[in-house]
């Protein structure tokens, strides 16, 4: 387990809980949560500077051991995603990028076609591309061909805390896709994250459930432990289920039987 390292996007990662930095009440709270979880990979967004309210620089609150993956949230098509990715890289964010292309404001479901286009373009530019996508096998295969570093299927709509509603589709991706599968979005409680890891996902990305918890640092730790437990269970080989009972105690030598 201690040498169970995830080799991804040209890096090695020990902590399979990736954490998003949105929605925390403030950056100090976020910082505590990232430390408590031992986070290694964290996501950030790129936005226009509001010079009227000169806010602090978030990067100053991200622990040194963390690697920052910007997302392209706000992009409505592939071209906008590419533009945001380039801006993020120019801002010193390194070469990882999570592609988010969304037009649907009610469910925030990703546009798989535009996401695929952006993945192709950015992979050619040398980015390590992590597409956030609907869990569709055909599209996932195309993401692999396009040079994606991983696929990031959604569990349920962003920020909904509803858990892994797409479980069976994610299971198919884990079986069929040879690059890391990272469940992103909708994980509402540590058991959701644990479930994903038991399925064989390489990692999970959690933001809302940690950020809006009463105690974000406590919840970050709980998620981190759940991810470790799920991963360990996966590596240990989860036994098959059975429709009938199979006694755990011996069925012979009962005290009440005569011989």
């Amino acid at each position: 387990m201690s040498d169970d390292i995830l080799d991804i996007g040209g890096r090695t990662v020990a902590n399979r809980l990736f954490i998003g930095t949105g929605k925390f009440s403030n950056y100090a709270v976020m910082n505590q949560a990232l430390i408590e979880a031992g986070a290694e990979i964290v996501t950030v967004a790129v936005r226009r500077v509001d010079s009227a309210s000169k806010t602090e620089n978030i990067l100053g609150y991200i622990p040194k051991q963390c690697f920052v993956m910007p997302n392209t949230s706000g992009a409505r098509n592939a071209e906008e995603a590419v533009r945001i990715a380039r801006l993020a890289r120019a801002g010193g964010a390194g070469d990882w990028v999570k592609i988010e292309v969304i037009q649907d404001n009610k469910y925030l479901l990703p546009d798989n076609i535009e996401t695929l286009k952006a993945t192709e373009m950015l992979a050619k530019e040398g980015f390590k591309v992590f597409p956030y996508m609907g869990p569709d096998l055909s599209i996932a295969r195309r993401m692999v061909d396009a040079g994606a570093a991983a696929v990031m299927p959604l569990g349920s709509p962003i920020g909904s805390n509803r858990g892994v509603k797409t479980r069976e589709l994610i299971e198919i991706l884990v079986k069929e896709i040879k690059i890391p599968v990272i469940v992103d979005a909708g994980l509402g409680r540590p058991s959701d994250a644990c479930d994903c890891m038991e399925l064989g996902c390489a990692a999970v990305l959690v933001n809302t459930a940690i950020a809006i918890a009463e105690d974000p640092a406590g919840m970050a730790r709980a998620f981190s432990e759940a991810v470790k437990a799920g991963r360990r269970a996966y590596l240990s080989g989860i036994p098959a289920t059975s429709p009938c009972a199979s006694a755990s105690s011996p069925l012979t030598g009962f005290l009440i039987n005569s011989a």
Binding site: G22, V44, V46, K54, I58, L87, D184
Partner: protein, 66 residues
């Protein structure tokens, strides 16, 4: 001189180049990325980019996001 900054039209007369503009806005150069007429300009080159009428500038930074 009318310039679009982050989608809003602004009337500027003093800043002569991108470095002036960032300074005038009180921004920390290390914390922002500047896109000038859809082209990313690195901080070291800001002073050499003279502003002109109808330029479109995006000034961005990192914020929390998932």
């Amino acid at each position: 001189m009318k310039i679009r900054i982050n989608g809003k039209e602004e009337n500027l007369d003093r800043p002569k180049n991108l470095a002036d503009l960032i300074r005038a806005k009180g921004l920390v150069p290390e914390h922002v990325v500047v896109e000038y007429n859809l082209k990313i300009i690195l901080a070291g080159e800001w002073a050499g980019v003279a502003l002109k009428e109808n330029d479109s500038i995006e000034i961005i930074s990192f914020v929390g996001g998932g």
